[in-house]
């Protein structure tokens, strides 16, 4: 399964970043092999609409599940349209999150966890 974990650093030992649209890195990893690609977030300093752009990036990268701290309404709508599952409220390192995901205890959310512009504050 192709996962994307929002991260503060560029490897599996990095702490996760609780923001989706404005995270430092997107770690795009295969949950079975742990092969991964670290994508530096190109939208981090955007004025607005970063959740939408980051959502579009997930679609381009053919990610199936996004694991992050919080997701706003526009990012949520974009990810939903792209048929990407969204799991919020994660913590720890990227690797820990992947392990936890594999146990099956993390469930996708049905609605955004924060309001627009949350990650800007």
């Amino acid at each position: 399964m192709k996962l994307c974990i929002t991260s503060q650093g560029d490897n599996l030992e990095s702490q996760i970043d609780t923001r989706f649209g404005r995270c430092q890195y997107f770690i795009i990893a295969d949950s079975e092999t742990l092969e991964f690609e670290a994508v530096k977030n190109p939208n981090i300093d955007g004025m607005g609409g970063v959740g939408i752009q980051s959502g579009q990036l997930m679609s381009e990268k053919e990610v199936k599940v996004v694991l992050t701290g919080n997701v706003g309404p526009n990012a949520f709508q974009t990810l939903q349209a792209a048929k990407v599952d969204i799991i919020t409220g994660i913590s720890g390192t990227v690797k820990e999150v992947i392990e936890k995901y594999k146990t099956g205890e993390l469930k996708p959310v049905e609605k955004p966890s924060v309001d627009s512009n949350f990650g800007k504050k």
Partner: protein, 291 residues
């Protein structure tokens, strides 16, 4: 050069005076409406479209009400090949192009038309989205135009632009600008012959006035300062204006009667008739500065 809406010599009688302030609640509407009443024959344009209140004091009889739109993209998915160009050129990130879908976030769209222009497949057409409306009316010899932004709407500047398109030729136009120094304020004061900055002599009043001064200097709009409640607070505003060579064109001391009149929707001139002469003098002073 100040960008002028009209530059023909035959239009010299057209005057645009904007009333702005960095800090809110300093007395923009009070100055704008009293200046209009003192002049008698003038056109007041309420460009504070998020919180319009000039009409409370002018009490115009509204004769027309028309909606204001901005164009937003509508995507014909049968023509779209999901190339992503529209999302790429969108300066406000209002479009997401997915593998087999395109999402338009209308509330983020500024209506620039770039997406339609760059679409190779002609899959985008622009449709109107209502952002608010404009009311026009009269009160005696005073003409009134006011914009009202729809609740929840963030796109104030296009509505302000529409209000300003109603500037009357060969007449004095008084623009009641929104507070602050954001896009809305800049849209409202642009093309003014003169901008009156209303402030109060407090640390907040001064701090926010300095921000407005910086904006007006960038826009090359001549300006002066009115200090409201001028006998309260401190003298730092006066010191700043002197140092920066900014004319203080009026001082309005604190007066409970002014506050009471305001709370009842009355003009200062109505409550304290001696102010009529003061606002006429202000108008004469502004005319001289503009000429």
């Amino acid at each position: 050069m100040t960008p002028r809406l009209f530059d023909s010599k035959t239009l010299l009688l057209t005057m645009i005076i904007s009333i702005a302030s960095g800090k809110g609640g300093t007395g923009k509407t009070t100055v704008a409406t009293n200046l209009a009443f003192a002049i008698g024959k003038a056109h007041i344009l309420d460009c504070d479209v998020e919180e319009p209140n000039s009409h409370i004091f002018i009490k115009p009889e509204i004769t027309s009400k028309s909606p204001v739109y901005i164009p937003v993209p509508e995507i014909d998915k049968s023509k779209c090949d999901f190339c992503g160009k529209c999302a790429e050129v969108c300066a406000y990130k209002a479009i997401a192009v997915l593998k087999t879908d395109v999402l338009v976030f209308k509330e983020l769209c500024h209506g620039c038309g770039a997406c339609e222009y760059f679409c190779q497949k002609k899959a985008i057409k622009e449709v109107n989205r209502t952002i608010g409306y404009i009311e026009t009316g009269e009160k005696g010899d005073l003409l009134f135009t006011g914009g009202k932004l729809n609740i929840g709407e963030a796109m104030a500047a296009p509505l302000i632009k529409e209000v300003k398109n109603r500037v009357k030729l060969q007449m004095t136009n008084i623009i009641d600008a929104p507070p602050g120094t954001s896009c809305s304020m800049i849209e409202a004061v642009t093309a003014s012959d003169f901008c009156v900055l209303v402030t109060e002599p407090t640390p907040f009043g001064l701090n926010d006035m300095i921000l407005s001064v910086e904006v007006l200097r960038k826009l090359h709009i001549p300006f002066g300062v009115i200090i409201n409640r001028s006998d309260l607070g401190d003298d730092k505003t006066v010191t700043y204006c002197e140092k920066e060579n900014i004319p203080i064109i009026m001082k309005i001391p604190f007066d409970k009667n002014i506050a009471m009149a305001y709370s009842q929707g009355k003009s200062i001139i109505e409550a304290l008739p001696e102010y009529k002469q003061k606002f006429i003098a202000l108008y004469e002073d502004l005319k001289e500065r503009i000429e």
